[in-house]
């Protein structure tokens, strides 16, 4: 919850960028925790770093692009990383504002607050999915929220879910990495990242960050979908 700040804040000097997350340490090979272990970067929509749209092979290019661009320019905070509780606008007001946008912006529904649980964490959180424009943003936000609970045993590539690589998926059985799953309108538990972002926002009812070993049952379905798309 206060997880926008990493543990290394103690050591860092004044950081002109964001105090938490990407700026202070290079991305590669760092035991970052959640956003390193889970790759939500399918970049199906609106991802600023990827120029081409929604094909899954962009996963690899987008990720490597992010790595090569680090350490990021500290004076320019990485865009679109949501920090909990900032700006300090009450969620009551935020909720109301979103439903107000309905009259101006068309057919958007009210704020999409969903519960987020992480296996092993003592309490749940809530996120407003409308606050994010992509899986990437959501991933960052969740990693900030739960950074205190993740072990981050695997940094870099080993932790990421590479949907194209079946072997890596099998590694999840024995890993402690967290896999984001969500409950959709039908009550089914799905792996996050399969559908375009707006569809995900509409259908997601709650989020659960499962331990990797629990998620293996979801994997085959994801594999089929990816293969059919490729």
């Amino acid at each position: 919850m206060m997880g926008s700040v990493e543990l290394n804040l103690r050591e860092t000097e004044l950081c002109l960028g964001l105090p938490g997350g990407d700026t202070a340490t290079p991305v590669t090979g760092n035991k970052r925790g959640f956003s390193e272990t889970v790759d939500l970067k399918l970049n199906l929509n609106n991802e600023p770093e990827s120029k081409v749209g929604s094909t899954t092979h962009d996963v690899v290019t987008a990720v490597s692009k992010e790595k090569s661009s680090c350490p990021k320019d500290p004076a320019k905070p990485p865009a679109k990383t949501q920090v909990v509780g900032w700006p300090p606008v009450r969620s009551y007001r935020k909720n109301v504002m979103v439903s107000c946008q309905k009259t101006t912006g068309g057919t958007e529904a009210a704020a999409a607050f969903v519960k987020v649980s992480m296996d092993g964490a003592p309490y749940l959180r809530k996120v407003d999915l409308k606050m994010y424009k992509s899986y990437d943003e959501l991933s960052n936000a969740l990693s900030n929220m739960f950074s205190s609970f993740t072990m981050g045993k695997y940094g870099g590539e080993e932790g990421m879910i590479d949907f194209m690589n079946e072997r890596k998926l099998m590694d999840l059985v024995n890993s402690w990495d967290y896999v984001p799953s969500y409950e959709d309108k039908d009550g089914d538990w799905m792996l996050v990242g399969d559908v375009p972002w707006p569809m995900f926002v509409d259908t997601c009812k709650r989020l659960r960050l499962m331990k990797g070993s629990d998620a293996i049952g979801l994997a085959p379905r994801a594999m089929e979908k990816c293969k059919s798309r490729a």
């Binding site: 919850m1 949501q82 920090v83 509780g85 009551y92």
Partner: protein, 623 residues
Amino acid sequence: MTQDRTEMSEDDDDNSQSPPLDLRSAAIADHCSSSSSSTPNKSRNCMALNSQTFPDHVLENVLENVLQFLDSRCDRNAASLVCKSWWRVEALTRSEVFIGNCYALSPTRLTQRFKRVKSLLLKGKPRFADFNLMPPDWGANFAPWVSTMAKAYPWLEKVDLKRMFVTDDDLALLADSFPGFKELILVCCEGFGTSGIAIVANKCRKLKVLDLIESEVTDDGVDWISCFPEGVTSLESLAFDCVEAPINFEALEGLVGRSPFLKKLRLNRLVSLEELHRLLLGAPQLTSLGTGSFSHDNAPQSEQEPDYAAAFRACKSVVCLSGFRDLMPEYLPSILPVCSNLTSLNFSYANISPDMFKPIIHNCHRLQVFWALDSICDEGLQAVAATCKELRELRIFPFDPREESEGPVSELGLQAISEGCRNLESILYFCQRMTNAAVIAMSENCPELTVFRLCIMGRHRPDHVTGKPMDEGFGAIVKNCKKLTRLAISGLLTDQAFRYMGEHGKLIRTLSVAFAGDSDMALRHVLEGCPRLQKLEIRDSPFGDVALRCGMHRYYNMRFVWMSACPLSKGCCKDVARAMPNLVVEVIGSDDDDDNRDYVETLYMYRSLDGPRNDVPKFVTIL
């Protein structure tokens, strides 16, 4: 707006909140409660029985007659410290009690000291809980308070809660226990639903005020409006704009029709414009109106549309206007007939463009309190500055509350306001870009400022023209605004800004810090330099153990200190807790199983007369 009142009340001293003094008072309390009678109404007889105090007996009778006129908390606190008999008499004559932190004392202590309480103002969670910085179910339960008061104060008339957790059962107990109950005000509360409200509506037959403000009210499907009893009511104020549940409009119309004393009515988003129109025709005596949705629920009928402007014209007494939750802008001009009377206008839930806004604001010459969204742009603020010369309070909220959103307001709007509204006392301003020059201008043009809250939404953002930190701007505010009691800072800030605050912020009571400062010295400047500091809330700033230790001479004189995402160690917090036994040091969010973990995510500490609370959830550790 009622919220103003509760905001202002934070600036007064509260009772039982200064342990060094109150420890002495507490000792007096123990002595007194053993010697005085248990029945509060018979104080005179009680004193007569105590032959040792015979000379005091006359004095106390006189005192009682005098002290009952004393309203101000500060005065009463001072009077209670004169001597034992003054303390006793003051305790007997205090009818309204303010408790700024519900965990600073137990309900039993309240009822033991004050015997004739008719009105309670109670605050619970710290403000940063509003921004999801605290897990749910942290505490601040109303239950122990209502159950203790149910036995001690059957004559209770008023309860005003802020950031408390209130259940339907609590409301039911309240409705059952206090036959003369008159005023229920719930601000930023949660835990209850329409069924609890229905019980209050039904059983509190003398109810004058039912104000639900920015609270989370679950929709239990209960038609609570119909639960008000038949016949003429005593209702003077009914505010339910935060209740996200449909209401029975016919019942509401009937209720309004049989409430001749109703002056304040705040409708929720689910009351349409046509329904508002009908209500206005039946209640032209209203002084404060929350307009509900201000839109049609269906497509507008082809037949004659109601004359909304005429309805407003008939409301000659309306001075406070809010609502506009789903505003259809073409209807906004209907409010023009009341604009020149308005002293308070809240557009903060309406996405109004400058072109829509300017014709309205040009008529609001008497406006003193104005809340709006930044959708009115700098242009709209310039219009406010040109017309609203009496403006005292301004709040500009972001329509799009994200860091990277477009910023329709900037230093231009702030500068214009500072030049046009010289009587400004309180400002809350969200923006994406700001300059030191504009902030300095405001400090020079608005000497009456007591509240200055500037939120530059991009973290660590400097003056966008000079590229420099915002130190000089905030420095000027603390230097020039000699009456400043509340300050919230943002943008790129170095230790220098804090040096200014420590040097000049002598009256500051509330300070909010986020993503600011370079080192421990910053916090040290403030802790050592601001003698009136009561409420300190800090997040994501590089202040650690050294800084925390610097304040140990202060913490007993403060209501609370909140520090989250700061580099504090558990060891240091333990040291503070050990050194200050009357300070409750809560560490929130740390995993209990991992005691090796030294990092403190959130520190929340406050003085308490009755030790640590007994309702601590799993994720809180009290050191």
